[in-house]
């Protein structure tokens, strides 16, 4: 190596070799594997955070929230990291999450997983305290995720309508489920590069998609009236030892439901505390309506012109037809009532006689026109159509029992809708619960209104209203429904309940109901009350009318509806 030329060449060769090695490595790192290294580096910095879309609230007609969502956190553990210091972590978490230490320890060391939920619906402040305390003590393996908690500020109020939000397929109930598409919204996310301590690197990439919150759904329900109806109903169900009850408050002019109460009910904040059976029996449970049905028979007969309010009807003590003997509620001799008297005194025999003039085909037509056997259109899940068989399937006796409401099954809302039609001058407004939606940007979208249909003429509706007003007179069946100063029209119903044990009516108990509206000459509110199987008394005028009186008084005051200041007309109930 003495020769300088050789030495130079050797050095050159070594340099070339070195450069070649470095160059190759460079190409390997930057060119061939570059993408994957860049990706790994980015993965260390890159952080994707889901921004949960706020679920829309459900508010009453005055904008008071019945259901709303508040932020909460889910606290979870990564046992692969938490295992080493589990006792110290458990000591920090136990008092804050109110979970026992042994329970926490079990979850903190769970094998073969990197995600164990420790607590849901944790207050954000508490969750932040946990994260900061753990960071101070250099304990790793616990994380929090943003979440939302659904609260129902008024607890039981309208729980039967609201239900609970879906949490996975085939879960959820009530309006929370049926309006889920409007309420849910779309989640957003932030993609950002974070440095140590979770702070964003200023010049790093940053992509953000804002969440689209759900819309607010506004109901026609009035929270206060709903509460009053639930209170009055629950108290009466208890007082008369009834199985259950429903109360519906409607504005007959628009079909808007102001309250739909059921008893027993449950606290919406504690799903699972509900009574067994359906969420909202007011639309899902059917029963035989009894005498409230007579208004259909009488209004149909008036509309067809086969009777007038003053037409005399002779009522024998009993009536024998197709092998059955029909009675009235009370024993009486032969009476001479008018059509108005038949309705006011709720005579079964009189109603059968009127229905014979109407004919069963026409009777069926009117039952259909008033909405029997079809969905009311209120749009609640689990609604029943009721049971109205076609005339050719009617048994021999059904043609005489259906006119006074036995042998046909309906929901409480269907019955309320019949009386709303009379109250609204013979025009049926489709019952509705949705007032509209309020979009996240604050714009309001009123709900589409279903078309109305005329069932009977305004004149027939007026005549029937006068007859129904006589029901609350001293001669009628429900003086207990009267409210001082107001003209009240309504009808009692006392129906036998079928006994499933024997497929007969014996021992089945009764359904007591009262449906009425006020003021009678300018109806603005309608209240329908149904009590199933009351054991202390069973007449609608005794058991259901007081609930009507209480709820109607409250609703009239709440809606600031003054009396009309007119005198009720004299309606002749007795012929001759």
């Amino acid at each position: 190596m003495a020769h300088p030329g050789r030495r130079l060449r050797a050095a050159f060769g070594v340099l070339v070799l070195l450069l070649a090695v470095l160059g190759t490595r460079l190409i390997q790192l930057q060119g061939l594997d570059g993408a994957s290294y860049a990706q790994r580096a980015e993965l260390q910095r890159r952080h994707v955070q889901t921004l949960p879309a706020g679920r829309g609230a459900i508010v009453d007609r005055n904008g008071i929230p019945l259901a709303m969502s508040v932020d909460s956190n889910t606290v979870y553990a990564d046992p692969t990291q938490a295992r080493a210091q589990a006792p110290a972590i458990a000591a920090v978490l136990a008092p804050r999450l109110q979970i026992s230490v042994p329970d926490l320890l079990g979850r903190l060391v769970r094998p073969n997983t990197r995600y164990v939920v420790l607590a849901r619906d944790v207050d954000p402040g508490v969750a932040r305290g946990i994260v900061e305390t753990l960071a101070q003590q250099r304990l790793a393996g616990i994380g929090t995720e943003p979440d939302a908690r659904r609260i129902y500020p008024a607890d039981q109020v309208a729980a039967n309508l609201l239900g609970f939000p879906p949490n996975g397929p085939k879960t959820g109930a009530g309006l929370e489920l049926s309006s889920n598409r409007l309420l849910a919204g779309h989640d957003g996310k932030i993609v950002a590069e974070l440095g140590a301590g979770g702070r964003e690197i200023p010049s790093g990439q940053h992509a953000e998609r804002r969440p689209v919150p759900g819309s607010t759904v506004q109901l026609t329900i009035d929270r206060d009236i709903q509460w009053a109806a639930q209170q009055a109903l629950a108290a009466q169900v208890k007082a008369v030892h009834a199985d259950s009850g429903t109360a519906i408050v409607m504005d007959p002019r628009s079909g808007e439901v102001l309250a739909m109460a059921t008893a027993p009910t449950f606290d919406a904040n504690k799903p699972g505390s509900g009574p067994p059976g359906s969420l909202n029996p007011a639309v899902s449970d059917v029963y035989e309506p009894g005498s409230v049905n007579k208004v259909i028979t009488v209004s149909g007969a008036l509309q067809e012109g086969v009777v007038t309010p003053g037409t005399p009807v002779t009522i024998p003590p009993q009536l024998r037809l197709v092998g059955h003997t029909f009675h009235d509620a009370e024993q009486h001799g032969t009476e001479h009532l008018t059509v108005a008297g038949v309705l006011a005194k709720s005579s079964n025999i009189g109603t059968i006689k009127i229905s014979q003039r109407l004919g069963k085909a026409k009777l069926h037509d009117y039952l259909r026109a008033y909405g029997f056997g079809e969905l009311t259109g209120v749009g609640l899940l689990g609604e029943s159509r009721g049971i109205l068989p076609p005339t050719d399937q009617w048994s021999a006796s059904q043609q005489y029992t259906i006119p006074f409401g036995q042998g046909v099954s309906v929901t409480a809302l269907q019955v309320a809708s019949v009386y709303a039609t009379i109250a609204n001058g013979g025009v049926r407004a489709v019952p509705t619960l949705l007032r509209g939606t309020i979009r996240p940007d604050g714009s309001a979208v009123p709900a589409a209104r279903e078309s109305t249909r005329r069932v009977v003429s305004a004149e027939v509706a007026r005549q029937v209203r006068n007859m129904l007003e006589a029901v609350t007179s001293d001669q009628g069946t429900a003086p207990a429904a009267r409210i001082a100063g107001y003209r009240i029209a309504g009808k009692t119903g006392t129906a036998q309940r079928p006994n499933p044990a024997c497929s007969c009516y014996a021992g089945g108990g009764y359904t007591a109901s009262f449906v009425g509206f006020a003021p009678a000459d300018n109806p603005q509110l309608l209240v329908g009350v149904v009590l199933q199987k009351p054991r202390s008394g069973h007449f609608g005028g005794q058991v259901a009318a007081p609930v009507f009186q209480s709820v109607m008084s409250f609703a009239l005051k709440s809606r600031e509806i003054p009396p009309t200041g007119t005198r009720p007309p004299t309606v002749r109930l007795v012929a001759r």
């Binding site: 932040r128 200023p202 009235d328 109603t351 068989p389 006796s397 100063g485 009516y505 209480s550």
Partner: protein, 185 residues
């Protein structure tokens, strides 16, 4: 740069100054002193580079500082947001009708009786005044006030028993043939 411009026949200036006949003598002209011009140039360059670097540093510092401030402010905003939400929830819960009714009852209040209405166009007074007779609606009452009478029970109200038939019921002996509609779900 190191050569002076060569005067030539074409050169206008040389031409005028004379010495036309003599052949031009080429001499090495002393190079102009350039050193004095280089120092300010280098200084300017250094200044630009230094200024740029310092500016960049400041910019980065400010950005980083802002990131810290942003982080702290965001944290504060979140805490305040949580607080607001907590207070809102409390207000909404306190507004619930059952809570209000309970509070009112505890203060000895009862729901009002029938109100009177004054109709302005004709000055007519509508309605029948009636003092509150206990509670129209049964309250969940922890009330020290007279116990709320629940909604009128049938026996409590003599007028609830009408002289005429209270309501119709189907003839007890008639037993309408049970139909499919007879079974209640």
């Amino acid at each position: 740069m190191s050569m002076a411009p060569m005067p030539g026949p074409a050169g206008g200036r040389g031409h005028r100054q004379g010495s036309v006949r003599r052949s031009p003598q080429l001499t090495v002209v002393a190079p102009r002193r350039q050193r004095a011009a280089r120092v300010p140039f280098a200084l300017v360059v250094l200044l630009v580079i230094g200024g740029g670097l310092i500016g960049l540093l400041l910019l980065n510092t400010v950005l980083a500082q802002d990131a810290f401030v942003l982080h702290d402010l965001q944290r504060r905003s979140v805490i305040l947001g949580d607080r607001q939400q907590q207070l809102q929830e409390t207000v909404v819960r306190e507004e619930a009708p059952s809570v209000l009714a309970g509070r009112a009852a505890a203060l000895g209040m009862v729901p009002g009786g029938s109100p009177l209405f004054l109709r302005l166009p004709d000055g007519k007074i509508l309605g029948k005044p009636r003092a509150s007779r206990g509670l129209a609606v049964a309250m969940p009452a922890p009330a020290p006030t007279p116990a709320p009478t629940p909604t009128v029970t049938p026996s409590a109200n003599p007028s609830a028993k009408p002289s005429s038939n209270p309501s119709a019921k189907p003839g007890a002996t008639s037993k309408p043939t049970p139909t499919p509609s007879g079974t209640r779900r």
